[in-house]
Symmetry: C2
Subunit: 108 residues, 2 copies
Amino acid sequence: MGYDRLVFSETELLAVFRALSNPARRQMLVWLKDPMSFPGQEPADVEIGVCVSDIQQRAGLGQSTTSQYLTILRQAGLVIATRRGKWTYYRRDEANIARLLETLRDVF
Amino acid sequence: MGYDRLVFSETELLAVFRALSNPARRQMLVWLKDPMSFPGQEPADVEIGVCVSDIQQRAGLGQSTTSQYLTILRQAGLVIATRRGKWTYYRRDEANIARLLETLRDVF
DNA sequence: ATCACATATTGGCAATTCGCGATATGACGA
DNA sequence: TCGTCATATCGCGAATTGCCAATATGTGAT
């Protein structure tokens, strides 16, 4: 909770734009706005996010590619991963995304 | 003046994020917010923009690279090019950048 | 301990990007 | 017309990305 600076550093921005320069990764981020739109998603799961295989099925990509793309989104600070059992759930990092949008408004 | 849609299409977003996924190109866009910060820039020139060689000198890149990067920014709809004599002046497309930021706020 | 399952990591290859030097285009002046 | 200057385009090798199959890691059930 809470971030060092208000604005993103050059390095952070690089990771963000590289992450979002791929349509599949951008899609994933948009899909995660509405976790309930994934089949078999329970209302109780919304807070923790969506598991990799559900995202993979929707993306139509391979398992390894999906996992890698989610890692890239996580390293860019756009999503948060939570491991529970054998599943890893991903959800948007809304606070950081909001901070990003503020940075973009300042910088551009 | 004026654009077809309020929000950017998938193709437009791809061009934008690819363009901004390079630090040098992002720098150029930020520099162009203040054309007067370029040496030898006259107040009368502000509206038309900054010529390629001035941007090149500041970026420390080769001439061809600078020209290509500005073309990429132009194709992404982020800057506007104006040819006057042997010079090409580049300035920010503020209207389109504002439209982009609205799209980002909607989509992300 | 062993198995099955979800996810992460590795290795690979085709396609793209990075940045450059060389060259082409286009505008102006002599 | 010829030469010069500003910019654009071309062609290149090195580095990175896109996506995959294969393999490794970790977790829960038996």
